[in-house]
Amino acid sequence: MATAADGRLLGARSANTSSFSRARSSPSAVLPSPPNPGVKVGPNGATFVSSGIPDLDRILGGGFLLGSLVMVMEDADAPHHLLLLRNFMSQGVVHRQPVLFASPLKDPRAFLGTLPSPVSLSKEHRQRDTLVDHNQQDQEKGLRIAWQYKKYFGDQQSSQIHNRDVKQEFSNDFDLRKALERQHVQYIESMSIQDIPRLTILRDRCSNFLSGLPRSDGGNLSAGRIAIQSLCAPQCGYAEMDWDLVAFIRFLRSIIRSSNVVAVVTFPTSFLSPAFLKRWQHLADTLLSVRAIPGMFKCFAFLMRSIVWITWSYFQLFPFCTSDEDKDMAKLLTGYQDMLGLLHVHKVAHNNSQVPTVLEASTFSLKLQKRRSLVLERLNQAPVEASSGTSYSTSGTCSGPSKGSSLDF
């Protein structure tokens, strides 16, 4: 219709040379490809990808910077770093970004079975949509998958998480109770780093992954993700390889520097000597640490002895762990009982700038919202009762070192 009208208005102009043309709808694509929602461009030419946790993206000023190395210091008492890794990898899957996963497990694919699925619109909403859009249903049948996704298994465009039920936005909320379907996870490259004779194998794998990445995806920026779990854990067998390990990290940092990849490496700090721990920390562009809440140790120790350590059902039992220490902590912080753990931000990557990022608060509590998605909250000190005279230092939101507080790192 538009072209006919223009033809009349512009006189002798034929429809072919008119500057207005109706968007062609073809069976395979309704619209021209939208800008990649998985990559966000920030100031100074910085490009970000989401960490998979919307709150963390906000705290870090946009997300994980492409070309940077994110290191997460693990806590020996609680596997919260796995939550970060899972969300990070799931976010990559949702945005169709290639993911390389290296783990000290013999079979890393077992861990991939625990990746969370993005929160989708409720079923009622879906049903309402189908009634309203009945007219367009013929045209858009190819895209309307809803709960019948199995019919379109294998079709690139119509996988459940990539359809309109899950909004294509920069950062998704993930439902930790629901696992990502196998067919999405199979595209993740994985390798085991247990007992590999030389670290060059890991190096080569990372280099190959980087060289295999498309630079741009049809004019849009593409991104890749590398996730390395527990790099210096004892089961990897890198006992005498301190310098090789730090050389590997330096190598990883140098190859991703000028690439469109972000690497997240978690490592248990207790297996590094103090000097090497500092070296690793200096090499990181963004440095985070996760901690268990003091007082929860007893629960965790029991659970880890009795359940396979890679399971995410443990945090369902949180509210039932109580002890005197817990009661003290509950007095100190609001919402203590809902907390999974603590996340501390030590360093934030800044793109081509010498100005350090100073956060208002650098310690956050990890919580589950609606018992399914991960949120980070600033620590709020509970109102101090007049009767209690405990001498905890001033506030949990103070980001500097303060003496005497059990929340310090």
């Binding site: 100074n44 030389r198 670290l199 060059t200 301190d242 310098w243 090789d244 730090v246 050389a247 330096r250 190598f251 140098s254 190859i255 520097r257 000028s258 000597s273 103090p274 000097a275 500092k278 070296r279 920390q281 200096h282 440095l287 030590h346 360093k347 081509n352 700038s353 010498q354 100005v355 350090p356 100073v358 650098s362 103070c398 980001s399 500097g400 070192p401 303060s402």
Partner: protein
Amino acid sequence: MNPSPPPPPPRDPDLLEEALGLGRGGSPPWRLAFVEDCVETSGAFVLHHFLKRALSTEGDGTVVFLGLAQPFSHYDRVLRKMGCNLSVQRNKNKLHFIDLLNLEFLGEQKLSNEKGENDREIGFMDLYNRILRSIEAIRSKDNNGGWTTIIIDDLSHLEIAAHGSVKHVLDFLQYCRSLTSEMDCFLVILNHEDIHSSDEALQMLSHLDYISDILIKAETLSTGIAADVHGQMTVVIKDAPGGLIKKLHSFQFKVKENGVEFFYPGSRF
């Protein structure tokens, strides 16, 4: 035809320049300066400050920069915000940037054998020769009157490339130090103090302390991180290498995109 605009008046030296005796022109009274920082407070801004100062139009300084920690583009962008165009300076032969982001002397080899030792020695000799050639190339042009500053960012990367061999790194530093007297240049090296402060690595720190003339230490405030004051800086000047401390300066700093502000504690409001 148009008369060129009058040159801008030389600005007053800031607290760091005063402490280092840089003042208004004239060569610095020291040869080897170590900049120390920690994880919480990065000292890279001091290197940027030196870089900018050396390449400023006021002096005829030249720089040989060993970029081990970041690629050239990073320094280019940072210095551009500070009003210094590194690409132009590089083209004018005032800056020699040696890109060592991927520097590695050895592969995954056993280091105890002869070949491992040899590789490291050869690697360091190559690096030293590269620096020497850069200085000679700079000097061969009409860059008289100015002095050359060699900036190394940073030492811990050299140690990693050397697979922890303290001997090789210290030998290399001694060679570089000899350059300062032979070729009349200055050496500024960034080092991470907290890596070496543990017992096992104290040897390195004491060596570095011994050979340096000046120590510039950037650390966090004891009261924590603040938005207005990014840290405190201590400048230790020795009367001779390995000698007693002659003077100690202490002040605070705030890092900005276009430079650094130095001020005495409590003088900002």
